[in-house]
Amino acid sequence: MGHAQNKDYSQRDYDAIVRDGEELISTHCCFCGMQCGMNIRVNKEDKSVLGVEPRYDFPMNGGRLCPKGVSAYRQAEHVERLKHPLIRKNGKLEQATWDEAMDLIVSKIQEIQGKYGKDAFGIYSGSSMTNEKCYLMGKFARIGLGTKNIDYNGRYCMSSASVGFNQSIGIDRGSTNPWSDIKFADVLLIAGSNTAECHPLSMPYIWGARDRGAKLIVVDPRQTKTALVADVHLDIRPGTDVAIANGLLHVMIEEDLVDHDFIQNHTTGYEEVKELVKKYTPAHVSEITGVAVDKIITAARLFGQAKTGMTMFARGVEQHATGTDSVSNYVNLCLVTGKMGKKGSGVATFTGQGNGQGGREHGQKTDQLPGFRKITDPKAREYIAGVWGVDESEIPGPGLSAFEMLQALGKEIKGLLLICSNPIVSSPTVGDVGEYLKSLDFFVCMDFFLSESAELADVVLPSTVWIEDNGTMTNVEGRVLRVKGIDRTPGETKRDWKVICDIAERLGRGQYFQFNSPEDIFNELRVASKGGTADYYGITYEKLDKMQGVFWPCPTEESEGLPRLFEDLKFNFPDGKARILAFEHKGPNEKTSKEYPIILSTGRVVFHYLSGNQTRRIEALRNLCPDPYVEIHPNLAKKYNIEHGEPIKISSPRGSIELPARVTKITREDMVFVPYHWGKSLAINHLTNPALEPKSKIPEFKVCAVKLEKIASHAGEKHG
């Protein structure tokens, strides 16, 4: 029997099998925010990685794994792993020694910063790495390099959810509730998330709710595997989330399905919303969104009448020029119906990256210091300066956000350190991003595979894979977890946290980076986060092992964390009241036109992760989904005389790409969908719109206007 907090999860009562000559390393998957527990099978003698064994006793997934999780270990012994540092000589990356590489990096940092100022060297970081590393990157940027320009790829992922949660309920933890609460919801509204494919391990919880008779409402332009089993599928036109939420609010207010006591005692702003949504009648919303009137009414009734319920959303809602409005508007659904602060009632966002939660808490964001503190807050600066042992004036202010940073390469940013990200695949207008990266005076990248971005670097440093490192991650629900690794560094690979400390040492800043282990870094992180919103002070490695993870905030040694937020209905604002905010529907930044009449939306498939740098190299996953495709409705395909499997040209004002058509009824007739996990000529991000959400700075990946063209060589061909 585990800790009480894990009682309602999906662990199973079986032991893992240990085979002769092997040992099991109990760790977590390196991919999405679910952070499923798994055992990695390791040869006792030579420490080689042999396979995976279910970790039945881990609460979140009870041994279950998606195809990425089952095959994740296959990276460890992969033939394409980088084993030596590489330096660009005569235009080609050639093997070099660590000393050569480090000398070059340090001299270039000093040269660039001496010539152009401290901020001319930037760091573009990622969230698929441990809290310790995320914290270290933030600290290294501020007091190792002294640059204000650090940001991270979570800007493309979780930033709208972060802003939306903060402005509505005053705290940004991916889920206000433990994941087990999903089972106790009477209604689930899932928006802009193909949960079944992108977070498959949430499905046992969703099925748990349905087995109790819960209703499922799915808001998605495509009839995904999640929408397939919905009671109501609101198949909205991409970019109309604000309108559909306003429509649902309208019906619930009209039919008095709101919780007046909750609104009066625990929220502000209801009257403004009530006024604003008057004009969002089902008929009007139907016009905007393309969703049938009766579906809107039914969904609103199902949601409003249920005693408990959760709204959950993901990138489909957030990667928009109005992403933060949409997030807050979906939170509004829970606030007006009083579905907060109790078992089965709350809001959640499905974290995309493995450490999408922790990665946005401890100072990687350009506007932030550890513990979710604002870098512009004098008190926060004072406190962190004290922890780091520097003068407050040494900590720079906020710099550029991720995409703005890329746009500044070669201009105000002359040198870049890239770690744990592949922006030349994952950014909008990737054609331009390649040019930005090439215009740098100096570009250094740390990775364990030669990613498309690393191919352009002047220096590539080989780092270890996740199974060779120790530390903590924070999962989708705000549970901090221990990841454990094997004590090995194949070839000349080094752990990236050690490399960063080494660079700091060579820059003469070594006294601030005296860490001998991830636990050392974590213990400093604990102090740095103390008193902040994301307070990890009471979390220790020992406690994490004992409790199978601890939810933040955990402010004291005695505390066991807080799985469910707001049970006291005191929201994180001075008056303790949540904010019901009113939003007008503005629609996407780029509207369709005569020339570009079709909407393009991008997203994930179950077989791949982010830019595909890891999953495309795993044979089993590559075989299951080798190439991208254009998902297109039969009626639209007919209009262009396109057959299933035929390559078609798809263009936006920013570029074009040729991909095979996948004709299917699951997508709307006015749009096409393309997965984004491929690089170079197969990168759909050549086409996407770099318009940024004003508050969160997330690019609008989910909507842009495109045209389709039949490729001449296929015109007039007869298909059998």
Partner: protein, 189 residues
Amino acid sequence: MAKVLYIDYERCIGCRACVIGCEECSGHDHLSRMFVDELNPGETVAASPTPCMHCVTPACAESCPVQAIAIADDGTVLSASLEKCIGCKNCTYACPFGIPRVDDVKKVMYKCDMCYDRTSKGRPPMCASVCPTDTIRFVDEHEIKSEPPKEVQFKWDFGGTVIETRTVIGMPDTETNRYGFREGDGVQS
């Protein structure tokens, strides 16, 4: 208590974790014995996994000329014995579910043995262990056949020949369009 595979088609997301997981079983030589099919491509994303159905009277074993296919005490129909199998493919013709495969290089049949090295030690097979959506579960045979949570099928009529299987299939609710076969009328259940 004999345990069997229970497969609820409605929950399958077609992710093939079971297919890859099957390779991870120690007795499987990194060769998957699991199949996943798209049920109606182009119309719906519905998919379904198919392991061995572990027939009560298995046609594969009955048709084997060299008795290479053994049935374990608990009813599990094992993969062909490497020593006995002659790769004649009789079993592949006999099986009404299309389960056995023959490795043309090794000239030996291979099929799902319900991860016998795991199930004989009380652990679920790999497919049921890893299935992320609880589509494939490892449950008590008597319970699932006598008190199923929904409509199930484990007797199959092949032109008058009825075959009972130990693997139990949970039938999708096509009546209320939970499986994407009926154009929605707004509310899909």
